[in-house]
Amino acid sequence: MKSEILYPGAFPMVRVDLAAGENIKAESGAMVACSPTIDIESKMEGGFLGALSRKFLTGEKFFFQTLRASRGPGEALLAPTVPGEIVILELDGVNEYMVQKDGFLAGADTIVIESKMQGLSRGLLGGEGFFILKISGKGTLVLNSFGAIHKIELKPDQEYIVDNSHLVAWSSTTSYNIEKATSGWVASFTSGEGFVCRFRGPGLVYIQSRNPGSFGAWIRQFIPVSE
């Protein structure tokens, strides 16, 4: 899987080159265009029940798509639903990332995607829901965000505080606690009460420069309410 980001910025696409016979995983609905050599299969990762429980418990799409270059090499163009940056990570087999459920765009067939239950307080307060994706294995991982993606590098025991609705992905060597935001933090429009995550290194934390919930609330004020 060779990938290249086209039109970096707010409205990017990713071009993925597939060798003959190669498979990749993609978020269902991410496909924009592809060579005629590529077949799309809707595959239920983790079996039928796994997919079903993912759908109900994480609200995530029922299927990942598998793109397969069955009839020779080819390329596919993939794009996320929301405007925002795309980032490509190379997993080395040791690094693992936790990804909030909308952050996954595509990945090599060799990466492993699991739904993972979070601790109760993290699930209730963290804003990413009780379930997040745990992505491990070796190969390319493509993430997308709402707005720009910013990488925070944490040294061992270094701490950083992040508004939870801006989280995209974080390495599993980090740990975090949920804290109630003190005044001064941008309280989210929807809850009126913000929660923040206090991350502790070592590892990487990827955040997005826009908050989907706040954006939704901002849009809503312009939509006429029918009586």
Partner: protein, 377 residues
């Protein structure tokens, strides 16, 4: 080299440097992968290490030491390496090992406890809804469009009839047509178009599939002493359809996931899911409440159609007394004395209406389906 750990330090990338950790007699050897130079390795004696638990779920072993180039932190996850490390480590480290292990156990225990509690409450709520009020089933059933129900019933109906000897015409078909017509005229708003078929078979049975597909066997018609008696069974079956009892049973036997699937959106999968789970429409047994409901609404329907309702009661009673023959209808419609008594009480409470007789002669209808004169032993 296949790395099994991540090493953090000032000159390493923030995501950590993949490395291979090997446990030796006196310490750890850490090999770093490098494309440009030969593999670099670093050996650290056990005496200069500290260990603790860390990472997102506190399930990684964190090993720290002061290297020549500064502070080093190693995150180990591989259980084999951790086990080997633990066995080889000297006494002064084993205390911190135990502490780290204890911390992991505590975290896991606590989260198991909390999740167990949450799961228990959730399950109890769902089961409570499930068994007490059948609320979820009702919600799910109400979301299934009638066309779906018809599609479901029709495919089973056609499939069934293709293996049976169907009566296309004759006095028996005409008689059932008249009964059906009299009753459906009383339910003009019903979304169901009832289809009633007479099947030549000595089985004493009649059934209705979801969507309004009704089958009456000639065996049942031979056992009946009047048209009103057959009309009683027919009315009962029509009301199973009108109350969507079959659908309730299907949804119930398919389980909670299906109910959830229907309530929260996806109705498309129902037919496929039934096939997959091998749910047999014909073996669905109705519940006692459903039987009572079909009895009572059936009785009211007869009354409105001016068909003498006492035929229903006498036929039910007669069917339950005799156990000879193949009384299939009873196997899906368990009969009891209480059921007949209840119907009698209900009938007594209804306003009296003078019934209008059918236009056919029941004895002639029976003769046309080859019924011998019944000899009472």
């Amino acid at each position: 080299m296949i790395p099994n750990a991540l090493c953090f330090g000032d000159e390493f990338p923030a995501a950590g440097a993949p490395c291979l950790v090997q446990v030796e007699e006196h310490g750890l050897t850490v090999n770093f992968a490098s494309d440009t130079t030969d593999d670099q390795s670093e050996s650290v004696p056990f005496s200069s290490l500290t260990v603790s638990a860390g990472g997102l779920d506190h399930d990684q072993l964190v090993v720290k030491w002061a290297g020549q180039k500064g502070e080093r932190t190693l995150y180990l996850k591989n259980p084999d390496v951790i086990r080997a490390f633990r066995q080889a480590a000297p006494d002064q480290l084993s205390h911190s090992f135990e502490q780290a292990a204890e911390r992991v156990r505590q975290v896991r225990h606590r989260s198991r406890l909390v999740w167990g509690l949450v799961g228990g409450v959730f399950l109890a709520t769902v089961l409570g809804l499930w068994f007490q009020s059948d609320l979820l089933v009702e919600i799910a059933v109400s979301r299934i469009p009638v066309e779906w129900e018809q599609k479901l019933g029709e495919s089973a109906y056609r499939d069934f009839l293709s293996h049976q000897e169907v009566m296309k015409e004759g006095p028996a078909v005409a008689a059932l047509g008249e009964m059906t017509q009299r009753m459906t005229a009383q339910i003009p708003d019903s979304p169901y178009k009832f289809e009633v078929t007479v099947v030549k078979s000595d089985v004493v049975n009649a059934f209705a599939l979801p969507g309004g597909y009704v089958v009456v066997f000639t065996g049942l018609m031979k056992k009946a002493e009047s048209g009103e008696e057959v009309a009683g069974v027919l009315s009962h079956e029509l009301n199973h359809v009108l109350q969507r009892h079959g659908l309730e049973r299907i949804v119930k036997s398919l389980g909670i996931m299906t109910v959830a699937a229907i309530v929260f959106g996806n109705q498309q999968g129902l037919v496929g899911m039934m096939k997959q789970l091998g749910v047999e429409l014909f073996t669905l047994k109705f519940g006692r409440e459903q039987e009572t409901e079909a009895d009572l609404t059936g009785l009211q329907l007869l009354q409105r159609a001016k068909i003498d309702p006492s035929g229903m009661i006498t036929f039910f009673e007669r069917l339950s007394e005799k156990d000879e023959g193949r009384m299939e209808w009873l196997s899906t419609h368990p009969m009891s004395a209480a059921r007949a008594d209840r119907l009698k009480a209900e009938l007594a409470a209804l306003p009296k209406k003078s019934p209008e007789p059918f236009t056919f002669d029941w004895k002639q209808v029976q003769a046309s389906i080859g019924s011998q004169t019944v000899v009472v032993p």
